[in-house]
């Protein structure tokens, strides 16, 4: 081998060695002393950095978990009970049972139900439309249909139904991170208890007007009549501001309220279809 090649190899090797030595000492001097468990916990977390836990990313949550005494109030909705159990083992703590949840869109104001009274032509953003006016219908509380929630979802669990102009949540993919809840300017989306077979019973309305104007704006609005509150055997339903609310953690899915509701504002999802009754409650309430 010629002397040039030998010289080059020697030079580069020496440089490499020098760099390695410098790097070693610098790394030692500026080493950040950290609890090594933070790394392990971080590995156990899903790594989606979605903020569903309420912290700014998985690593921040990992640090909080390591520093805290108990898991009270700390939960990763994406990883769920499995992940929390695994972290409990790593940190030698007791896992806290948290009920799994799912996002639910509490509005049924499709064009069939709520007549369009104007046409919104501004920027396609619910927050912009909400700041502008009540919306394309006479209900100033309902879904604006611009899809801020769909855009906020990082788990591909939502899409906008072009016919109903309402957002649809894909239960299998929803991890209840809460991004869509925050994105909606009208608080229409709620994180409710996830039941077996993804069954749901909820008041699909957030209209707080009195019954008359509410019904006039949308056929399936909650008119605040209170019949559901009376019929519920588990006291799971409360009425406030002309709007009924079903507490998903108290509800036992008996469906008595669904049949009782005169406008069809309460929806039952995931149940076997009931036999048709001779007089549909919805028709009876038209007059």
């Amino acid at each position: 081998m010629s002397s040039t090649v030998l010289f080059t190899i020697a030079m580069l090797s020496a440089l490499g060695l020098l760099a390695a030595v410098i790097l070693y000492f610098v790394a030692q001097k500026f080493k950040v002393v950290e609890d090594p468990r933070i790394d392990t916990v971080n590995e156990a977390l899903p790594g989606a950095n979605c903020g569903g836990c309420g912290y700014t990313g998985c690593r921040a949550f990992a640090e909080t978990l390591v520093k805290s005494e108990s898991f009270e109030g700390l939960n990763c909705p994406v990883g769920g009970a499995d992940t929390m159990a695994r972290i409990a083992v790593i940190l030698d703590r007791q896992p806290v049972a948290v009920e799994p949840r799912v996002a639910v869109v509490r509005c049924n104001g499709s064009p069939d139900h709520a007549t369009r009274t104007s046409f919104y032509d501004g920027a396609v953003s619910c927050r912009v439309a909400h700041a502008l006016y009540g919306g394309q219908t006479a209900c100033q509380y309902g879904c604006l249909g611009c899809g801020d929630c769909v855009e906020a979802c990082k788990f591909d669990a939502m899409y906008m139904d072009p016919v109903t102009q309402l957002p649809v949540i894909i239960d299998d993919k929803c991890v209840a991170c809460g991004a869509c809840v925050k994105a909606c300017p009208r608080n229409i989306i709620e994180l409710r208890k996830r039941n077996k077979k993804d069954r749901k019973i909820y008041v699909s309305c957030v209209n707080r007007d009195k019954g008359g104007p509410a019904r006039k704006a949308c056929q399936v609005a909650c008119i605040g009549c209170g019949k559901c509150v009376k019929v519920c055997p588990y006291e799971a339903i409360t009425m406030e501001n002309n709007l009924a609310f079903i507490d998903s953690f108290k509800c036992k899915l008996c469906r008595k309220c669904v049949t009782e509701c005169p406008t069809g504002a309460i929806l039952e999802i995931g149940f076997p279809v009931k036999e048709a009754k001779p007089a549909e409650p919805a028709d009876a309430a038209v007059n």
Binding site: R116, T117, S118, F119, Y120, D121, G122, A123, V128, A131, L132, Y133, Q136
Partner: protein, 333 residues
């Protein structure tokens, strides 16, 4: 009341100018230069322009429709402008397959990979041109001489450009005065009697186009004037120092791609600064780098590289140079 009313936030009126109108305004501004190039280079010019424009439009359409699966936006005219400018940057005897490759690089690589219109950091036509220059150096540097409309396409007679003659000659030690005998006169250069790429030859036609764009408020004077002034001053200083080694400023302004670059390439909205002060700094940078490359660099022409280098600085210029705010800042207590 039967009508359902439209509701939107204010303002409820929109100006008459649209993206498409701006783009086609540029096309109109390029028309005199296109006419000049067809006049001087004949059928070659027509073929190259057509192929370039069609290839650019087709590339954008196909990528948007089949790869991105979005609505094709070719009707906004930006691909047409890129096609025209790419054509103006190449010799009129460039084979069709090379033009198509250039179009694919311009639109596909330099524009669509960054997100389409408005997102590219580098001038797409220039990226295409530089790619072709490096990949096909022979074809991209054989310049047809202007022999009038009868000039064929691939069989055109080629020769060196005035700038090429000048820079080669100076490197060989010839004096500028001697070299000036070999190149067309200033007047001829102004009208376009010179070899070169299709768009760069006719300074008069390009200036007419530039004035039209300023009148239509498509561009402002800042970038073209600053670039040309910088080139004139820098080359002027050099010429005054040693007129035998450095050509005069007018020669520099009228040869090579500086007119085309200053008026049409550097003024591309997407890749140029948004503030007037930023535009001036941008223009000075382009001028300085162009003259550096022309005088001391390996290539006879440096405008394309100068513009691409300054394109890289534009985000920095936009970040640090802000327009003059109305009202002093008042710190909140």
């Amino acid at each position: 009341m039967n009508n359902i009313l439209n509701v939107s936030p204010s303002p409820h009126q929109q100006g008459a100018e649209t993206t498409r109108k701006l783009m086609f305004g540029v096309v109109i501004a390029l028309a005199p230069a296109l006419a000049a190039s067809i006049y001087f280079f004949g059928t070659g010019a027509i073929i190259v322009t057509l192929v370039s424009v069609l290839a650019c439009v087709a590339t954008e359409y196909l990528i948007q429709k089949f790869i991105l699966k979005t609505k094709p936006s070719v009707s906004d005219g930006s691909a047409v402008v890129t096609g025209l400018l790419l054509a103006f940057n190449v010799p009129s005897n460039l084979p069709v397959y090379i033009i198509i490759i250039g179009a694919i690089v311009s639109i596909g690589v330099a524009k669509m990979t960054f997100g389409g219109l408005g997102n590219n950091p580098f001038n797409p036509a220039l990226v295409g041109r530089v790619f072709l220059l490096i990949s096909f150096p022979v074809q991209m540097t054989s310049w047809p001489v202007p022999t009038g409309f009868k000039t064929g396409y691939l069989d055109a007679v080629t020769g060196a450009t005035p700038l090429g003659i000048m820079s080669e000659g100076i490197k060989n030690g010839e004096t500028v005065a001697a070299l000036m005998e070999k190149v067309p006169s200033h007047m001829q250069l102004f009208y376009g009697y010179m070899g070169g790429s299709m768009g760069e030859i006719a300074a008069l036609a390009l200036i007419l186009g530039g004035l039209y764009m300023i009148y239509r408020k498509i561009i402002t004077w800042h970038i073209p004037v600053t670039i040309l002034l910088t080139v004139a001053i820098f080359t002027g200083i050099l010429w005054v120092i040693d007129p035998t080694k450095y050509a005069d400023p007018l020669f520099h302004l009228l040869t090579g791609g500086i007119m085309l670059g200053a008026i049409f390439m550097a003024t591309d909205y997407v890749t140029s600064p948004m503030t007037a002060k930023g535009m001036v700094i941008y223009g000075i940078g382009i001028g300085v780098i162009t003259v550096l490359i022309r005088t001391w660099g390996a290539y006879p022409e440096g405008v394309s590289f100068a513009i691409l280098i300054m394109n890289a600085f534009v985000p920095l210029l936009n970040m640090y140079i802000k327009p003059k705010r109305f009202g002093k800042e008042v710190k909140h207590g």
